[in-house]
């Protein structure tokens, strides 16, 4: 379960979001500037809210009233950044394995070969990130986050930089990993089609406010009638 209740003021921007998701996949949906990426950064521990609480599967990441604020390292979220941030000086294989050695030994359950085959990146292992296409980089970034054995996977606009063909392809990969691993996923999108296909719960944000919280399937049904 994902439980987030945070408030943050950044200049003119005010973010206030209270949401809980029971399902394995939560979508943060809304126009640009709604605060979706800021919310991901707060969950990852890269940004700090003025006050609030975050708990993932009842592990507290943040509780300002109890002075709990885990570092990004302690939170162990697999964050796939919008700009991917692959390490340019490491080949694909070493990018993929980067987080593995930092995960506690008994929590290294994600299998390297399974991830590599699932994402179809075996032929890329010996390449430098600079020599990958956009879709290839995206898959490597997802694999890298997954192989760190995270408690939670964060995907920031995983399909935004891709053309239609690549988009459908990556979407399929994300569906596969959603079903293959028991890791909850929070992803950011401004496209309803992606949200419908991937998410169990949807949080609709606009200008820093949570507008609506709903189950994706209900919304789908609602539009049909």
């Amino acid at each position: 379960m994902i439980a987030v209740d945070v408030r943050l003021r950044q200049g003119d921007f005010f973010l206030k979001a209270t949401l809980t998701a029971q399902s394995k996949t939560l979508a943060l949906y809304g126009p640009s500037g709604a605060g979706k990426t800021t919310l991901l950064n707060i969950i990852a521990g890269l940004a700090h809210p003025d006050e609030g609480r975050i708990a993932i599967d009842s592990i507290p990441f943040l509780d300002t009233s109890a002075r709990i604020d885990l570092s990004p390292r302690q939170r162990r979220v697999g964050y796939v950044f919008q700009e991917l941030r692959l390490f340019p000086h490491l080949k694909v294989e070493r990018n993929l394995l980067y987080g593995r050695r930092f995960a506690p030994k008994k929590e290294r359950s994600v299998d390297f070969d399974q991830v590599v085959d699932l994402l179809g990146i075996r032929p890329l292992l010996d390449r430098w990130p600079a020599r990958l296409s956009g879709g290839e980089k995206q898959r490597v970034a997802i694999g890298r986050a997954l192989l760190a054995n995270p408690r939670l996977l964060l995907l920031d606009e995983p399909l935004a930089a891709l053309d239609e063909a690549r988009r459908a392809e990556i979407l399929t990969y994300i569906e596969k990993l959603r079903d293959a691993f028991a890791i909850p996923i929070v992803f950011v999108s401004h496209r309803l089609s992606e949200v419908d296909r991937l998410a169990g719960d949807v949080a609709i944000l606009d200008q820093g406010k949570l507008v609506e919280m709903r189950s994706a399937h209900v919304s789908h049904d609602a539009r049909r009638f």
Partner: protein, 248 residues
């Protein structure tokens, strides 16, 4: 009337260029390389640490630290040498401390020449490393952190390798500066053949003695060759590092 002492006989100089090095010249050349290498290697950890602090951390007194590091670049080298003598001389507090704790004596020893060279080369080293650390994208460091790396591991596996070309440039600059060091060295450890006489101070002596023009010319050539070789090696290493990163 011409002054015989200060006239340089071109013919003598030319023929002497092809003569082998005299033993004192060899001693000065070997000592120079030793002093420069030791000063470069010994100051590297401090250079990297201070460059990292200046590039990545905010703390009170940062401007002061930055000023202090750069001081040897703008002060007359004689002042630096004199200050070293005051603090690292045998009876001075730091000098006595290192003597009793580790048996390390600086004054009028080659180790003192290395210390003087390290201090003089330090601003150049720190500056090059600092710029290259600042050029490393902090977003990559953040990404490493979310993948579970501690600050130290982030530095070791992300920041340091990406800043490597700048670190190499800083080392070479410090080495070249050490080979050229004169003012602080001669003030701090004098010009003792076989102990503290480097190429630069030997060359100075040669210009003070009538008839030593040939020796001066040979030492001049040597210092040009060493400086040039250092620059070429730096270029090659930096090119190799960036080629490796891009796999071209």
């Amino acid at each position: 009337m011409t002054n015989e002492i200060f006239s340089v006989d071109q013919g003598t100089v030319l023929s002497a260029l092809f003569a082998p090095f005299s033993p004192p010249e060899w001693t000065a050349i070997v000592l120079s390389v030793k002093v420069a290498t030791v000063s470069m290697v010994a100051s590297l950890p401090f250079g990297v640490a201070i460059a990292y602090l200046l590039a990545r951390k905010r703390f009170p007194g940062k401007i002061l630290l930055n000023g202090l590091v750069h001081l040897p670049l703008v002060m007359p080298p004689v002042v630096t040498g004199w200050l070293l003598l005051l603090s690292f001389g045998r009876q001075a507090p730091l000098g006595r401390f290192f003597d009793t704790c580790c048996g390390l004596v600086f004054s009028f020893r080659w180790t003192g020449a290395a210390l003087a060279a390290a201090v003089m080369g330090f601003p150049l080293m720190v500056r090059a490393i600092r710029l290259s650390i600042e050029a490393v994208d902090t977003k990559l460091e953040q990404a490493a952190e979310t993948l579970g790396a501690s600050s130290f591991m982030v530095f070791l596996t992300i920041t340091a390798p990406l800043a490597l070309p700048g670190v190499i440039a800083g080392m070479i600059l410090a080495f070249a500066r050490a080979i050229g060091e004169f003012g602080a060295t001669i003030t701090f450890v004098a010009n003792i053949p076989g102990e503290t006489q480097t190429i630069a101070t030997a060359l100075y002596s040669a210009t003070q003695i009538p008839g030593a023009e040939a020796s001066a010319a040979r030492l001049t050539i040597v210092s040009i060759v060493i400086a040039f070789a250092a620059l070429v090696i730096a270029e090659i290493l930096a090119a190799r590092v960036s080629r490796q990163a891009m796999d071209l």
